[in-house]
């Protein structure tokens, strides 16, 4: 049985196709998004690809006013860490929120994955969504 190879390229190739991929430890079930090759919990290298549903809640955010050179025209923009429903966190751009009114951006709000193409790069982003209760 050959082992999976978890590269950033494979992660971004999948993201381009709107799949947020991670790796799951076959020994202890620990989950990692993005994928990584060694389990941080038990040290195993026996992991498999899994796809995240891509929904979660906003754990923390910032509004970038002094950006890197490549994003000079985009600032101010919002970057956050999202706690995925599967229980792991990941960083992404937060879109469809107003960077000029950060006090209105709520920690804990529900967000889901969107993929943006920028400067010839595939960028992981999240946008707010509401789940309608019936």
């Amino acid at each position: 049985m050959s082992k999976e190879i978890f590269t950033a390229k494979t992660f971004f190739d999948n993201l381009k196709e709107k799949r947020l991929m991670g790796s799951k430890c076959k020994e202890c079930n620990a989950l990692f998004v993005p994928s990584r090759p060694v389990c941080l919990q038990c040290g195993s290298t026996n992991l498999e690809w899994i796809e995240s549903k891509g929904e979660g809640s906003l754990e923390t955010f910032t509004v970038i006013h002094v950006p890197p050179v490549s994003l000079l025209t985009k600032a101010p923009y919002v970057v956050g860490i999202v706690r995925l429903d599967e229980g792991v966190s990941i960083m992404g751009r937060i879109i469809d929120v107003d960077p000029t009114e950060p006090e209105k951006i709520e920690l804990g709000m529900r967000v889901k994955v969107v993929v943006i193409e920028e400067n010839e790069k595939t960028v992981l982003a999240f946008k707010p969504f509401t789940t309608r209760s019936t």
Binding site: A8, E59, T60, T62, I64, V66, P67, P68, V69, S70
Partner: protein, 411 residues
């Protein structure tokens, strides 16, 4: 666990850290300037040919000076060839790693006396280009594409801290207010003015005047960098170099009657990307390095008389003083507000003005902090001297906490 052979500081010297005054000098020229001061600082004198190796931290010379091969570059310019020259890189903790590597080299028995230090020549580039260079400390695969910057990463930690402990940005301002006071007493500091004085100086050009520090900090002069962190929450871009001379305990007395002993050292790492870490309100690398260094020294946080901790951003100082065990979780901000970390407090923190005011030439910072501990423990810190300081602590962080060095020194 202890060092197989004891190591002491017998000299230290630094350039002033600054954004303008060193513009016409290169990195190695700054390093030489600091090294000459360290050589002069040795009580009993030292022949430079006694230096058997040089360990130098420089974070991104490739970006600033289009220069690699830093070990040979500095031994050459110091006139020390053919001794070995070692460059260490661990982002903003690069020179603490140089220090630690020097300690290990002496403890191993390979050398008796070495020069350690660091340098960064940052003002060659624009602010945005420096932002790019500093961001190399973050995870290029997963943190940079969304647009995270260095201040942005700490802003994420600040927001998480505020949420968890109900703290506010206003409370956090006790940190730069203290730093600017301490910096005003340090002739090596980049900024030697209280915030109110800077505010009124800048404001005069725009017809603004201010009554107190907080009014300046809440004004438009204090522009947003990465919400909620503003300009005065951030350390500046600086040029500078700092060095120290280490000697084995058994030869240190040849150079001084009062060597500063290295009692505990530790270096640690954590996940590079902050989203992979176990906490957003604590740096595990600091917690672990602190525990190990205290254990080696056989000491506890309450034994420390003076500490230089890594305050690249205001929130970083709060995380550091909690993670090192000086204060309980969630109580760091109030401790700073109450003056417990001021020059007159129970545990003075960043008596030199911290990275915020002393400046932060990334590769030079760790040994720049050791320079302050050296001054304090020898009673040579002038107006900012802590009386009877016997135990000092260094805490230097790489990036936003993916690496850390803690070291404990005693008189």
């Amino acid at each position: 666990m202890s060092l197989a052979r004891g190591v002491s500081l017998v000299g230290a010297g630094m350039t002033r850290f600054h954004h303008r005054i060193h513009q016409d000098k290169s990195g190695r020229e700054l390093f030489n300037e600091a090294a000459e001061k360290a050589i002069e600082s040795v009580d009993g004198g030292i022949d430079r040919r006694d230096l058997q190796a040089v360990f130098v931290g420089y974070f991104t010379p490739e970006a600033y000076e289009h220069q690699g091969h830093i070990g040979a570059q500095v031994t050459d310019w110091l006139g020390l060839c053919p001794v070995s020259g070692w460059r260490t890189e661990s982002a903003c903790a690069s020179s603490a790693y140089a220090f630690l590597t020097g300690v290990l080299a002496i403890a191993s028995g390979l050398y008796d006396v070495v020069l350690v230090g660091g340098v960064e020549k940052m003002t060659e580039l624009s602010t945005e280009q420096v932002t790019d260079a500093l961001s190399m400390a973050a995870c290029d695969d997963y943190e940079l594409p969304p647009g995270a910057t260095f201040p942005g990463l700490y802003a994420l930690l600040a927001q998480a801290y505020f949420k968890k402990y109900g703290a506010t940005w206003e409370q956090l301002q006790a940190v730069p207010i203290k730093s600017h006071h301490n910096g005003s007493l340090n002739s090596n500091a980049q900024f030697q003015e209280e915030i109110i004085d800077i505010g009124n100086r800048w404001g005069a050009r725009r017809g603004l005047s201010f009554k107190d520090n907080m009014e300046v900090l809440k004004s438009t002069l204090n522009r947003m960098v990465a919400y909620p962190l503003r300009l005065f929450d951030c350390c500046p871009i600086s040029d500078g170099a700092a060095t120290a001379i280490l000697a084995a305990d058994d030869v240190a007395k040849k150079y001084t009657d009062t060597p500063i002993k290295i009692k505990g050292v530790s270096a640690t790492t954590d996940n590079l990307a902050i989203h992979d870490r176990t906490s957003l309100t604590s740096l595990r690398a600091t917690v672990e390095a602190g525990k190990r260094a205290f254990s080696m020294a056989g000491m506890k946080p309450k034994d420390v008389d003076v500490a230089d901790v890594h305050d690249c951003f205001t929130i970083a100082e709060i995380l550091a003083i909690e993670d090192l065990g000086f204060f309980k979780r969630g109580e760091g901000i109030r401790a700073v507000e109450e003056g417990i970390t001021s020059l007159k407090g129970d545990i003075p923190i960043n008596t030199d003005g911290g990275l915020k005011c002393k400046g932060h030439p990334a590769g030079a910072t760790g040994v720049g902090m050791i320079h302050e501990i050296w001054k304090q423990l020898r009673g040579e810190a002038g107006k900012r001297q802590i009386s009877n300081a016997e135990i000092g602590l260094l805490h230097n962080v790489g990036g936003d906490g993916a690496s850390c060095v803690v070291s404990i020194f005693s008189r």
